[in-house]
Amino acid sequence: MNLSRPDRVGRLDALAASYVLGTLPGRARARLAHIARTDTVVRANIRAWEQRLAPFAESAPPINPSPQVWKRIALRLGLPATRHLDRGPWWTRVGFWRGFAVTSFVAALGLALALTQVAVAPTADPIVVVLAAQDQAPALVATMERDSRTITVKVVGGAPVPQDRSLELWMLPQGAAPRSLGVVPSTGVGRVTLPALPDVALVNVPALAVSLEQRGGSPTGAPQGPVLYTGRVERLY
């Protein structure tokens, strides 16, 4: 049966509709799915119906699956399973801080590389924070001179930032909520200002983080989006 023929348009549309709705009976369903694999017209019809009915799928109230599901997925893919055992904001999760040890190690590896890419006055004993996703190459490097409240942030890698999003830099104080340092550019070099000179402002801040926020940064003063990169505050004494 050639469903793509122009005189069968109506028939194909009805089939695609009942396929997507789910009412197409078993054998017909399997047959249509089989045809769709090679026939682009059939596939386009199905996709159009998926788009039409998509808003409706969004409205069904969400239900949390059992934590076992994530554990089994992680097990099958050989990923660390700890992260989703504790719910709550990411900076309060045990897994986040546990994962941080690994990130810092990688960040340290990236440090030498990053230092060669950032113009740093060699005499000033700067504070350098290399921000990276877990087990990934550095994405941003933040450098601070001891006698200035300015943080220079340079983008050296990481995933592209969508047009309608911004990267926001945070201090992660021990035992307290993240504190925003402001929005940093998605490419090139930017500057943000610390609330005090680095040795004062960062006294209880072992790490910085970058989250993905709505354009212009989180409106609430707390991170809303996912954390993309973290980095330990390294003091080069």
């Binding site: 009412t23 990923l79 660390p80």
Partner: protein
């Protein structure tokens, strides 16, 4: 979170998952799994089977996130379609098997369906964030609207719809067919169809 917000975040995470970013994959799971599980468990009415489908879907996303084409559909549409299709495949295959092997009542699926505060028809309307979509749903007569909603959210077949709605099979079939046609005409007119 509004739908466009989630959509943008899911798309951003997916692009990082495609590069093998484990943290992004975990965030992605957290952001999408309760939605997808809700869809699956309503259709399959079986928690274990729904979890199984979810597991397969995420394993596939990890391996094939790169094949998602941003230009062609919203990421949540893409994901939801994958999960719904797998659920429906299983459900409809089960029916074929049942017919072939003659059914045994012990095999009746467990009904792990959540008690929703909304009826399927109300969900259908709630899904219509955009005014034009809402108008199109509103324009449907009550019976076709209910039949479409039950099929869409709970995976009921034509004959199950007929039983549920206490109507002849042919009546239910034409409700669904005409209802979908009207919905399509209306959505396409409003420019929401694609």
């Amino acid at each position: 979170m509004t739908t466009p917000d989630r959509s943008a975040r899911v798309a951003a995470l997916l692009s990082r998952v495609a590069m093998g970013d484990q943290g992004a994959f975990a965030d992605f799971y957290e952001l999408t799994s309760s939605h997808l599980y809700g869809v699956a468990v309503r259709i399959l009415k079986d928690a274990a089977a729904a979890e199984e489908i979810l597991q397969e879907a995420y394993v596939n996303v990890w391996h094939h996130a790169g094949s998602y084409e941003v230009a062609k559909s919203q990421p949540m549409t893409w994901l939801t379609s994958i999960v719904r299709n797998r659920c429906l495949d299983q459900l409809r295959r089960r029916e074929v098997d049942t017919v072939t092997l003659t059914s045994d009542d012990d095999d009746a699926p467990e009904y792990d369906v959540p008690d929703d505060d909304m009826t399927p028809a109300e969900m259908l309307l709630a899904g219509a964030e955009a005014r034009s979509v809402r108008d199109c749903v509103d324009a449907l007569d009550a019976a076709p609207k209910q039949a479409i909603a039950l099929a869409f959210y709970q995976g009921l077949s034509h004959s199950e719809l007929a039983t549920h709605m206490r109507q002849p099979l042919g009546t239910v079939k034409s409700w669904v067919r005409r209802g979908l046609e009207r919905l399509k005409d209306c959505l396409d007119r409003a420019g929401m169809g694609r």
